[in-house]
Symmetry: C2
Subunit: 375 residues, 2 copies
Amino acid sequence: MKAVPQDILEDLGAQIILGNTYHLYLRPGHELVRKMGGLHKFMSWERALLTDSGGFQVFSLSELRKVKEEGVSFRSHLDGTSHLFTPERSMEIQIALGADIVMAFDECMEHPAERERARASMEMTLRWAKRSKDYFEAHKHECPWAITSSENQTHNHRGHEGTQRESASDTVHPTAAVLHDSMPESIKTPALFGIVQGGMYADLRRESAERTVELDFPGYAIGGLSVGESRAKTMDMIAAVLEILPKDKPRYVMGVGYPEEIVQYAAMGVDMMDCVLPTRAARHGLLFTSEGRINIKNARFAQDQGPADPKCACRVCSRYTRAYLRHLFVSAEPLAGVLNTVHNLAFYLDTMRSVRHAITLGDLSGILSGSVSFT
Amino acid sequence: MKAVPQDILEDLGAQIILGNTYHLYLRPGHELVRKMGGLHKFMSWERALLTDSGGFQVFSLSELRKVKEEGVSFRSHLDGTSHLFTPERSMEIQIALGADIVMAFDECMEHPAERERARASMEMTLRWAKRSKDYFEAHKHECPWAITSSENQTHNHRGHEGTQRESASDTVHPTAAVLHDSMPESIKTPALFGIVQGGMYADLRRESAERTVELDFPGYAIGGLSVGESRAKTMDMIAAVLEILPKDKPRYVMGVGYPEEIVQYAAMGVDMMDCVLPTRAARHGLLFTSEGRINIKNARFAQDQGPADPKCACRVCSRYTRAYLRHLFVSAEPLAGVLNTVHNLAFYLDTMRSVRHAITLGDLSGILSGSVSFT
């Protein structure tokens, strides 16, 4: 999470973080993360972690990308070196990272795409899903806490002699240790989610969903949306797929969205979403508030002694004025990125808390109409 | 404080922050800060604040600087606009910012300088000190909380209707309000410190100290050191001046220094120091530790599961490994600047806490020899 320390994320109530497989594979490298005891331990995050398949960043960041049946070859955006991601390789990397949820390797198709292109891509994603699952089932026990605990012991002794921290760092990642020692077999290992594709064709989406469900995953994602299509189209695709995905498994729409979007999708039955929007927008000065989006660099905030969002109780809104946040942003102070990100995360997490609360009450109408506040 | 939220600075035990008059004058402007209730309120910092005179940044950052008896004319490093800082103008700006300690306007002389140049500069700094004091005494009651509270009331109502924060933001800065309403006259206003100059000539330094003390300030700074001279020379100059400055007033060496330096100067009788080193170094990956300085980007830390400093109990050392801090830095993650800065500040603040503890015990020998730990 760019610019925000983990303890603040905990205070905000974040329950899960997404780690980018492509980035972590290139730097620091999945084998280093495995040696360090896995991503939980490496980044000091005991709550849930999800890793993506790496395919999306290969699609959006890397150069000379080439898709074949075997997988995707590409050049690193960092140093131009050549790499190959296959379903098997993506599983190997994600198992090494040791997240709680691992994503099947799918093709991130261009948009727009003709029907036949979309069908072919969907078919390949299904073959890759099968290969992902086969490799995952055969290797899921190779997660970091299972195979590197003795190696970690060696590393942990470096620089720790005679300090109070020795006992803490001599053990492997606590969650991992608990999982390994005392949990039933079924949750000692990560969970692999399948991904539904099919472009912007509802019948292909439905077919993809049916055939992905046949492969039997503990959770299902809907990928390839929010790639430039209208929001109505996004909703149509989600609605078509949700009819088919089992309701008793997590249903995850990847890469969305604006606050009003995620409320709508949750109301439709979506359980999980991920998006770079709240954090990336924050670093560009865009703040989400109960009164709508504001750009904090706007001159009208120069003497505004109100908080970023008058209805928000986050540590930023409780303490700082818009005038100060604007000053930090205009002066390119690194603190601007920190504070703006903390507020936007608070706003998104508050939004989802309101959604969960409304679900418990059995009435999402207030939230959907905007008449129920998010705080 | 670049990259660190105020609540973390409070947790670290920071008691005072230095605000740069030059930067705040250019952006957001001292009149805006005054309107916002002063720097305390603007940045949400209720503990002590000190502002420098603005002269040092004019010397180090601005273009086309021209020093005359009247003051220093310069062009902004931001937009090239022309400005003039005089002793009177520096006081006016600092009073508008509303810090607790305000610094006299002195000449920041080049180094090295011939004796006659150093004498002339010292003489002008003395004349400027007198002008600073005269203006300050005549205008010190114009601090933000004294003259803008009614104006602030107006601003505070913006965007706050019906929220829990209304009562808090309808008052002026709490410290300021307390000072204004219930404190004796002598501490309702900021304190103006004089500054000793004299280049690298002990006799000029002594003369500067004597004549500055004659002007009668509530505290005294030693300026123009750590500008490229040897550390032995710095110590000689400080020692010469400390013989003359009254022991019952704060004695402040400006712009120092490394951890071992500040311990030495404190042992000599220095009460206050300021330095950009711990924060700037942090942003470049240089960490201060009980085992010496380390550059976190070094490859030898790539798999180091120890904390930045095994003897440090700060929130960074309690939670993150050197391997993770190195990864963040090498990946240019903004979190690297945050965490490295927090650790270096913890190290410096721990150092000064140990110094104060040793002073209370009446024995600084352990700290000076390095045999007493800083934590």
